[in-house]
Amino acid sequence: MMEVAGAEYPTSESRDQTTLHVPREQLADVVMDLRDEHGFNMCIDVTAVDYLAYEAPRRLPQEIDPERFEVVINLLRMRDRSRVRVRVQVPQSDPSVPSLFDVHPGTEAMEREVYDMFGITFDGHPDLSRILMPEDWIGHPLRKDYPVGKIPVQFKGIENAR
């Protein structure tokens, strides 16, 4: 357990690396508090994982209900060179999390990438649009139910594309 922003949040360990599990409603507050009170001053990475086809047991703390998506945020504390990972469960029915843009503006491109690849929306992001795929692309490629190799080739303005 780790106390952040006046509440206790469960933690887990994997290969000596600490992960903090936070409900998505409190995500922005927790990251803000980690920045201001705990000194995690840089957001290194924002990414996501789609656990649809995950076969091994999900090793989560008891308080956390597993959901299909997980947004993973890597924070860095330069003061003592430590890192912490924040993982947020995101349900399939409502894939959205609060944006961290107000806390760490450096998440702008990373959140757009997660939106592009997983279809997870970030509430409060100033410009949530596709970043790697073309603007009119259909589907989110890194989802596990997005097929590999069998997709029709999509091109702009071609009527009967293969």
């Binding site: 840089m42 090793r59 491109a109 990438e113 795929m133």
Partner: protein
């Protein structure tokens, strides 16, 4: 009444960071263009009176955009107001591909991301895999030192490439030729060791693919003998030259606070005066056993970034000299039967060895379930690898945190208020590799 009170400037005074929103911290938040491509196309074809600002498009095919970076710019005359980098032209779905390749095939995939420093990509993927396997403590020292040797030489070749392209972008076309020439010398050594000039697939989970070839020491020493002289020449050619200074000094300035807020790492962060180098701060391999200096800048401008890279090469030369002295004898890969295929000679005489070899290369080895994030200092900044394993022989999710991708969002802030021609210098000083930004 103290002096401090008399000089109180009210709202202009810097408030403590706590409780402030990022928008307030980043004074230049208006520098990012929020406009879709379709809107911009519509806007740029519209007739307009002369006193309006102009939205124009730069790239993706432009000699100074380092591959296929496209910028949408709002200009007031020649002054850049807002910028939006548009990327994705080199997107080939490498993270998706990575989920379909075994851990042994993984380096072949990731090495194609940052094609100017492929060995760092392989290194970070291998380190992550080894940490997941739990064998990161058991990698033979010789393998680790070889990895250090190769990645430091790769840092030199990547920075030389930066000097070449930076020179060309600013107008020093001669530098372009000299830079590529020097890079070629290093690549020739890589070819001798790994068999390929680029995309080596040399650093693999468990060690490296092959031991260093005979005569490697002479080759490296010959490189190290020639390089300082060349660097001195580059120094003479550019550093003191008035045109060079005029084009770079005070161009693309970024403050440490902005750099940290924008998640910038590597030379971009160090140019602002923050001494943050993962080799020193969170050492991996044996970087805690070599002696080197972290080069930092003062002003956070394009000239500092140029000077940092030039001097980082000198530090890398220092490191490589120490590596040559310290490189121990021993295995170049771990002798763990689960990860390492049997030696070639055993395959000829033993059926089991043949099957074992076949199994490792077709099925791969199983990696225990878990997740790991590992980062190394690539020539461009923090290169991270996040792997989630479900216990099979393929990563369930493989994510590469590429510094080029992250640094591109600093462009709007650095280009705001400067001339369009300075924008070229700014893009160049970030040194983005689009293969890594788009993956």
């Amino acid at each position: 009444m103290t002096l401090a009170n008399e000089t109180f400037e009210g709202a202009q005074e810097l408030q403590p960071r706590k409780g402030m929103k990022a928008q307030e911290l980043l004074r230049e938040i208006g520098s990012v263009l929020r406009m879709s491509e379709a809107e911009a196309a519509d806007l740029s074809s519209r007739e307009r009176p002369e006193d309006e600002t102009m939205v124009i498009n730069m790239g993706p095919q432009h000699p100074s955009t380092h591959g296929v970076l496209r910028l949408m710019l709002e200009l007031d005359g020649e002054t850049v107001l807002r910028t939006k980098p548009i990327i994705g032209y080199l997107h080939t779905g490498m993270e998706k591909t990575g989920e379909d390749l075994t851990y042994l095939q993984g380096p072949t995939n990731v090495t194609r991301m940052d094609y100017a420093s492929p060995l760092h990509n392989e290194l970070v993927f291998s380190l992550a895999t080894e940490k997941l396997l739990g064998i990161d403590e058991d990698i033979p020292p010789r393998a680790q030192w070889i990895r250090m040797l190769m990645t430091e030489l790769n840092r030199i070749s990547s920075h030389v490439l930066f000097l070449a392209t930076n020179g060309m972008d600013i107008g020093a076309v001669g530098m372009m030729l000299y830079g590529w020439r020097e890079r070629e010398e290093t690549l020739r050594f890589f070819e001798k060791v790994t068999g390929l000039r680029m995309n080596h697939n040399y650093i693999r989970p468990g060690g490296v693919a092959a031991d260093l070839p005979d005569g490697w020491r002479d080759d490296v020493l010959r490189l190290l003998d020639a390089l300082p002289r060349r660097l001195h020449e580059f120094d003479l050619l550019m550093t003191g030259q008035p045109i060079w200074r005029e084009r770079l000094q005070g161009v693309g300035v970024i403050t440490p606070q902005e750099a940290i807020a924008l998640s910038a790492t590597g030379p971009l962060l160090r140019s602002t005066g923050v001494p943050w180098d993962l080799r020193r701060e969170i050492p991996y391999l044996y970087f805690d056993q070599v002696d080197f200096d972290v080069v930092i800048g003062t002003y956070g401008d394009s000239f500092d970034r140029y000077a940092i890279r030039l001097n980082e090469m000198r530090e890398s030369i220092r490191i490589v000299h120490q590596i040559i002295d310290k490189l121990p004898e021993g295995d170049y890969r771990i002798q763990d039967k689960k990860v390492t295929p049997p030696p070639r000679a055993r395959i000829d005489e033993s059926m089991e060895a043949l099957i074992h070899h076949f199994k490792i290369f077709t099925e791969g080895f199983k990696v225990p379930a878990g997740e790991v994030y590992v980062a190394v200092e690539s020539p461009r900044g923090e290169l991270g690898c996040y792997i989630v394993s479900d216990g099979s022989s393929r990563p369930y999710r493989m994510h590469i945190r590429g510094p080029s991708f992250v640094h591109l969002q600093a462009l709007p802030h650095m280009m705001r208020g400067g001339f369009l021609a300075d924008g070229v210098a700014v893009i160049s000083s970030v040194d983005p590799i689009m293969g890594e930004a788009d993956r």
